[in-house]
């Protein structure tokens, strides 16, 4: 049983607020991802759960205990660090065995457990080497093996893939997902990479400047971003956001006119994703000149400028045009997301979603 509960948790250094009033319930065996740009408080949150950082205010529960004042070693968690934190003077085998040794687990069990953990991450041939003699990917797997050897209640992972090259990142991502499925332990995973968050998470917490922006499944966060920050953070390319004014139910910006059937008026921010709109030869709701064109292989990305915003549109893979040529884009009403201009909060509750996704409930804070 390892539910983890954070109740009104805050972290402050003097007047600087690292994490502000964080509330979260993590179910047993859930895979939760904390996502946000650097400095958003996600790592601090994880370090508070691990006991490496004091909690300024609030309570952290692991299982049925408040752990605020427990040492890291007494919290029954394990952690994979961004730079792995391997012990350079110990062999791979001794590195993996270390948690068993310092916790006084009977010596007779050590060998079998180390070998089992090593086998799970395919480290068999490297057990006698020192960390310095390993590649980045192998070191990463040693850190994983060390964290699973003890079979703790919860795994914490702090950007474990950020030091790997792109190719290795994809395969290790799959390995972590598979390990979680096998071990069925609560896992908290910190990353700034939205693709890792989307692929790994049961639920995602998007954070910015110490505040929770949105909590939900990857689909909810992608399809119904709670505010402009989440909208611009999730997706590749990020959601297009255009500032404009609504008068008489019509949204207008430079080169754009679009009916907004929401009953709002005044300044708003309008969003749509590149893949939800189509390039059309004539008409459409958006007209501009082509700013740039990029071939992605499976599609062509066309961009244009609307005021200060650079707007991307995903076109068919065989679409071709010239920089400076006129561009017409059709924006279906279901593709439109509407945000309040000053607060950035989502206004369009009933538009902008494919019909089948509206049923899932949102956990936005």
């Amino acid at each position: 049983m390892a539910q983890i509960r954070l109740v009104n948790v805050s972290k402050r250094w003097g007047s600087y607020v690292g994490v502000d009033n964080f509330n979260l319930d993590i179910a047993d065996a859930e895979f939760l991802v904390l996502l946000g740009p650097s400095g958003c408080g996600k790592t601090t949150t994880m370090r508070m759960i691990a006991g490496l950082e004091d909690v300024t205010e609030g309570e952290i529960w692991i299982g049925d205990k408040i752990v605020n004042n427990l040492e890291p070693k007494d919290r029954d968690i394990s952690m994979v660090f961004q730079s792995y934190g391997l012990y350079p003077n110990l062999s791979v085998y001794e590195n993996i065995r270390f948690p068993l040794r310092v916790r006084g687990i009977p010596k007779a069990e050590h060998h079998e457990r180390v070998m089992r953990a090593a086998a799970m991450v395919e480290l068999g041939p490297f057990l006698e080497r020192r960390p310095a003699a390993l590649s980045g990917g192998q070191r990463q797997r040693v850190a994983l093996a060390r964290s699973i050897v003890r079979e703790p209640n919860a795994f914490l992972m702090d950007e474990p893939l950020s030091n790997l090259d792109a190719k290795l990142r994809v395969s290790t991502r799959a390995q972590i997902k598979n390990l979680h499925h096998t071990l069925k332990r609560t896992t908290i995973y910190v990353t700034h990479d939205q693709i890792e968050a989307m692929t790994l998470a049961d639920r995602v917490v998007v954070m910015n400047k110490g505040l929770v922006q949105q909590l939900g499944t990857p689909t909810e966060i992608y399809d119904r971003p709670a505010n402009t920050f989440v909208a611009s953070f999730i997706g590749s390319p990020a959601m297009n956001l255009i500032d404009g004014d609504v008068t008489d139910g019509i949204f207008r910006a430079e080169g754009m006119a679009l009916p907004i059937p929401l009953g709002v008026s005044g300044p708003i921010t309008l969003g749509f994703r590149a893949e939800d709109v189509q390039v059309v030869p004539q008409g459409g709701q958006l007209s501009a000149t082509v700013y740039s064109m990029e071939l992605l292989g499976d599609a062509t990305l066309v961009s244009c400028r609307i005021g200060p915003a650079l707007v991307s549109i995903r076109a068919a893979k065989d679409f071709r045009t010239q920089i400076g040529a006129p561009l017409h884009v059709a924006i279906p009403p279901s593709a439109v997301h509407v945000f309040d201009r000053s607060s950035g909060q989502r206004l369009s509750d009933n538009t902008g979603l494919p019909a089948q996704a509206t049923s899932s409930k949102t956990g936005a804070a």
Partner: protein
């Protein structure tokens, strides 16, 4: 250095070489000369006629029958009991090094890992203490030590040297600890260590280079000190450096300055050996403070 960009004009090359040769002579010749001269008699080493006599050892030949003599060493080590001073120096420097490192690693580690601002202020205070002239502190010790009746003995001197050395030790070890990633102690603590276990089992094994380097400097401080040892040790407990100084007062009159020369050479030899074996650590130690501080 064969690429075009780094090819240097001949004039510059010559200038550099000449400069370096002059510097090396200035740096090394005094030592070579004194070591050579320590095996001569005074009339040769301090020859009024020609320094060529010191090279050939004319008077030495005349007085002892050989071009080299051990008279100076014999006088210093045996007659004047320089061996006692050497033993005292060994006791003092080794104790200072060991005690400094023991309490310094603990303190330096705490300073490197605490994020609170008092750690910063302790380091600043240490910087100020580091700047205090040792002799001014000594003048603060003398009277209380007389009163407490602990003046003149080795343990007092050892503790005082440790304390005087501590600001520097703390700074240096602190900067070495900073270069060890925090991840390491944190993973140890998550893996089940207390703070002290993490320090002992995980951090210290990778700290050896820093400890050795800092130890070298503690050793040098204890070994080279004159202000503290000359004031706080009684005659019979003197270490080498104050002993050499006392030679100057008493022996020069007797015309046996060669005892002092031999003692000086004897005291220099361990330093040569130290530099020979630990050159890399000394260089890295001097720069560790500079590059990071």
């Amino acid at each position: 250095m064969t690429d075009i960009a780094n090819r240097r004009p001949l004039a510059l090359k010559t200038l550099t070489t000449v400069f370096l040769v002059i510097w090396l002579i200035a740096a090394a010749f005094p030592f070579v000369w004194t070591v050579w001269g320590s095996f001569k008699v005074e009339a040769d080493f301090f020859s009024r006629q020609s320094w060529w006599m010191a090279i050939e050892g004319t008077r030495t030949q005349a007085q002892t029958g050989s071009a080299f003599t051990l008279q100076g060493y014999e006088g210093a080590w045996i007659k004047n009991e320089f061996w006692k001073a050497a033993i005292n120096t060994m006791i003092v420097t080794l104790s200072v090094t060991i005690i400094s490192l023991t309490i310094g690693t603990l303190g330096g580690y705490a300073l490197a890992r605490s994020g609170y601002r008092y750690a910063f202020w302790i380091l600043i205070a240490a910087l100020v203490f580091r700047a205090m002239p040792h002799i001014t502190l000594v003048s603060g010790y003398m009277l209380p030590f007389f009163e407490l009746n602990i003046w003149g003995v080795l343990p007092t001197t050892i503790i005082v040297l440790v304390a005087i050395n501590q600001p520097f030790t703390l700074w240096m070890l602190h900067s070495f600890f900073l270069s060890i990633p925090k991840d390491l102690d944190e993973s140890a603590m998550v893996d089940g260590c207390t703070r002290f276990q993490a320090f002992r089992m995980v951090i210290m094994p990778v700290m050896w280079p820093g400890v050795i380097t800092t130890g070298l400097f503690s050793f040098l401080l204890g070994y080279n000190d004159f202000a503290v040892t000359s004031m706080l040790l009684s005659q019979q407990n003197q270490t080498m450096v104050p002993k050499i100084a006392s030679f100057l007062g008493s022996i020069q009159n007797e015309g046996n300055v060669m005892f002092a020369v031999a003692a000086v050479v004897s005291a220099t030899v361990p330093l040569f050996i130290l530099v020979l074996f630990f050159q890399r650590q000394i260089v890295s130690g001097l720069t560790a403070g500079a590059v990071k501080g």
